[in-house]
């Protein structure tokens, strides 16, 4: 290739290179411009973003400061690095003045929970609804709820945490109060003696223990029951009407008696009160049923009714007159017998003054009894009335106060028995007794006088006979002397007889002078004063007791028996023993001899007056009747045990403590 062509080619190539350079420069210029524009745009955008960032930050700061709830920012050791005013106020601490380590504020009870919560916070990055009790600077305990989140740096490394504290002390208090109230309410409901059931549309939602116990269902079963399945009303028609009225809102509650079926098939009657519980819109939401078991009451009522009927029948038909009067003696009620007794009809009696219509004689007595009634005293007494016919009748009245429901005395109830006949008999008896006493007294006086008066002629006869014997003993033949002697003996017997009568008439006398009597002395005296044959001995093997008795009568008692015993002994060596034994209420004595004995047919007869066995001239037949009289006086008994030829035992008892 020649050099010219080469130069031409090089020129062309150079031209292309120049143009390429220009083109590149132009491109670069355009690119530069673009770059500048982009930079400018970026700068503006940056500025805008920065502003936005600052704004947002300040907004956030503002929000943080002005936030109502306490807000704190803490580092990883839970020391507060920032807090808003609300937090300062709430906690009482200020992070700009002192170090606040949040876990130290936590109440000791919640430390463990707090440690676990913080662990969760660090693991998950947030912690919601942390609840605990804290103690603020002034010592106040507060319930708080805290929501926290971890703050990370741009490398996602945790650098701290922020949290909003909410004071839930009041909330918690209310909650606790509510739960306490609920608990109290539960206690009341559970311990109520009444069954309580909550129903919705007849279905049992809830019931108390009393209800389940009442019906015998386990608690978990009752929730599946309908009230109508386990109960029926006594009167379905009325109950249905009440039920629909309740549902319609016409009434708020009603009561009815329902029959409940227990699980075991038994039935109970219950007074059931149903109340509607309405919601805000006035619609019935629940029904509360309160159930009271009245089975027993009902049974008792029926029993009382039957009892009443029974007693009404008894009162109407009894043979005693019954009257019910007010405090003012106005007749309120009478039975048939009372009408019959008084002769008045029921209509004539009711409303009348009992004292007036019956013309009660001793009306002041009635007034006194009325006073007793007001004091609640019951008693019985006799009254004298006039029946309709005007006849005087004697009534025995048993009066008792009549109370009203409040327990106040409103009058009295009287039961009357006509005792006119008994009264008349009694009066007769009294009269007879009076007459008897007079005649008895007269008789005793008579006996006394007679025996006394009889004694002096006897003594005269005895003296005359003695004189006759003295003056004429030489003149008289043997028969005459014997007659005089016999005469003397008969007079002596006569004297004895009169003495006996005199004793007998005084033995039963009422007057007794009671004193301490030593029976040993009594026996000694007797032994000295009576005739005891030589072959007979009277012994006291055991020392006799001291009695509270009339000494004269004791003397008479023992003398008569001993005196009898000693003279009826034919054995070579006679023995009379005085024995005794003590009973709780009586002394029992026994006088035993080894005499001739008494035939059994006389064992009773001998105690009657003037009865003597055989013709023994030494016995008057009065002695044992005196014994009987004295023993009677001491409320004792006397009897005899005897065997002919072997001996006799006289037993008698004396009451220890005689009342008069």
């Amino acid at each position: 290739m020649d050099s010219n062509k080469e130069i031409l080619l090089l020129k062309k190539a150079l031209e292309r290179q120049k143009k390429a350079r220009l083109q590149a420069e132009k491109i670069l210029e355009v690119k530069s411009k673009e770059l500048f524009d982009t930079t400018l745009h970026l700068k503006q955008a940056n500025n805008k973003l920065e502003n936005l960032l600052t704004e947002t930050t300040s907004q956030l700061d503002g929000g943080f400061v002005n936030i109502i709830d306490p807000y704190v920012v803490m580092d990883l050791s839970f020391n507060v690095v920032n807090m808003n005013n609300s937090a300062r106020e709430f906690l009482g601490y200020d992070n700009t003045k002192e170090t606040i380590n949040l876990p130290k504020l936590v109440h000791p009870d919640f430390v463990q929970y707090t440690i676990e919560s913080f662990k969760t916070l660090m693991q998950i990055g947030t912690l919601k609804n942390y609840r605990s009790k804290i103690i603020t600077k002034d010592g106040t305990r507060k319930w708080v709820q805290i929501n926290t989140s971890v703050i990370y740096d741009k490398h996602q490394k945790p650098i701290g945490a922020q949290g909003i504290i909410r004071d839930i002390s009041k909330e918690t208090e209310i909650k606790e109060m509510l739960s306490e109230q609920k608990r109290q309410l539960d206690i009341i409901v559970e311990n109520s003696p009444l069954g309580i059931v909550l129903t919705v549309n007849d279905e049992i939602i809830k019931c108390n223990a009393t209800f389940t116990a009442l019906l015998g269902y386990p608690e978990n079963v009752t929730n599946k029951l309908k009230l109508s399945d386990i109960s029926e009303s006594e009167d379905e028609v009325i109950t249905k009407k009440l039920e629909s009225d309740l549902n319609a809102g016409l009434i708020d509650n009603y009561s009815t008696v329902k029959r409940f079926f227990k699980k075991n098939g038994a039935q109970i009657l219950a007074k059931t009160s149903i109340s509607a519980v309405k919601n805000n819109e006035g619609k019935v939401e629940y029904q509360v049923c309160v159930i009271e078991d009245i089975t027993k009451e009902r049974q008792a009522e029926e029993k009382i009714k039957a009892e009443k009927e029974k007693y009404r029948g008894i009162i109407a038909n009894m043979n005693l007159g019954m009257v019910e009067v007010t405090i003012d003696n106005e007749i309120q009620l009478v039975n048939q017998s009372f009408c019959k007794m008084s002769g008045y009809s029921k209509d004539e009696l009711l409303g009348e003054d009992a004292v007036e219509i019956l013309k009660i004689k001793n009306s002041e007595k009635i007034e006194k009894k009325s006073e007793n009634r007001l004091k609640g005293i019951s008693d019985s007494y006799e009254i004298k009335i006039k029946n309709k016919k005007g006849e005087t009748r004697h009534w025995l009245v048993s009066g008792a106060p009549n109370y009203n429901e409040e327990g106040k005395v409103v009058g009295s109830i009287g039961i009357h028995l006509d005792i006119t006949e008994q009264k008349e008999l009694e009066l007769q008896k009294e009269q007879l007794l009076k007459e008897l006493k007079i005649s008895n007294d007269g008789l005793q006086e008579y006996a006394h006088i007679v025996s006394h008066d009889l004694k002096s002629p006897l003594r005269s006869i005895s003296a005359l006979a003695t004189w006759t014997y003295e003056d004429y003993k030489d003149v008289l033949d043997e028969a005459g002397v014997q007659n005089l002697t016999l005469m003397q003996e008969k007079v002596a017997f006569m004297d004895k007889l009169i003495h006996g009568i005199l004793e007998y008439s005084t033995a039963g006398s009422a007057q007794m002078s009671t004193s301490k009597v030593d029976l040993n002395t009594v026996i000694t005296d007797i032994k000295e004063s009576i005739y005891i044959p030589e072959h007979v001995a009277v012994v006291v093997p055991k020392k006799l007791p001291l009695l509270n008795a009339d000494s004269t009568k004791m003397h008479q008692l023992f003398q008569n028996i001993i005196g009898n015993a000693v003279v009826h002994i034919e054995a070579e060596k006679g023995l009379v023993q005085v024995l005794f034994k003590e009973e709780p209420e009586y002394w029992q004595f026994c006088i035993e001899d080894n005499g001739v004995g008494i035939p059994e047919k006389f064992h009773k007869k001998i105690f009657e007056i003037f009865q003597s066995i055989g013709d023994n001239e030494r016995s008057t037949g009065i002695g044992l009747s005196i014994v009987k009289k004295i023993v009677d006086r001491y409320e004792g008994k006397v009897w005899v045990e005897s065997e002919l030829g072997k001996g006799t035992k006289f037993f008698f008892t004396l009451k220890k403590d005689l009342e008069n």
Partner: protein, 180 residues
């Protein structure tokens, strides 16, 4: 197409066939750019087609071979312009493996409007790689040349076979096995 490809292409033509051939093909191609190219510019792909076609008839060499040769040449040009990129790889296989994920990412940074082929990796071992070239340009021989040259650059060699997945050569599967 990026200006660098045109400047490098003309560089190769000048060095291999002389300044006259450069001028001839530019004159024969009737280019809107009049053959004036700067690496920072962007030009119509048809200009490249015209230039290669002109060169092929001028030097009586098939278009494919010329493109392959251009690939070999282009690697050195690019390596000279961006030595840091090449330096960050220790082996040709790791460089090829990272075309899509690393090199093309950097290209996009400088030339956001660049239209780049994609290399979908089917399989990779320590000594081989299997991938599918995909580009509407269909310049798979260029890719072939670049691959061969990258082994050469690391003083290594490889057996590179390819198979056209369609007639236009817009999708081509490469199987590369490093020698030795």
């Amino acid at each position: 197409m990026k200006g660098v490809v045109f400047t490098e292409f003309l560089e190769m033509v000048e060095s291999k066939f002389g300044l006259e051939t450069v001028d001839t093909i530019i004159e024969n191609s009737n280019l809107p750019s009049e053959g004036i190219y700067t690496s920072v510019g962007t030009y119509n792909f048809n200009e490249m087609v015209s230039l290669i076609t002109s060169l092929s008839s001028e030097v009586k060499t098939p278009v494919g071979d010329l493109i392959y040769a251009f690939g070999l040449f282009l690697f050195d040009g690019l390596a000279k312009a961006h030595p840091d990129v090449i330096k960050s790889y220790s082996s040709p296989l790791s460089l090829i493996y990272s075309i899509e994920d690393h090199i093309h990412v950097h290209v996009k940074k400088l030339y956001p409007d660049a239209e780049l082929p994609t290399f979908k990796i089917l399989e990779k071992t320590d000594t081989s790689i299997s991938m599918v070239y995909s580009s509407s340009r269909g310049l798979y021989q260029l890719a072939h040349g670049l691959i061969e040259k990258s082994f050469e650059h690391f003083n290594s060699s490889a057996t590179v076979t390819y198979k056209l997945l369609n007639e236009n050569g817009t999708e081509v599967k490469f199987d590369i096995t490093q020698n030795g």
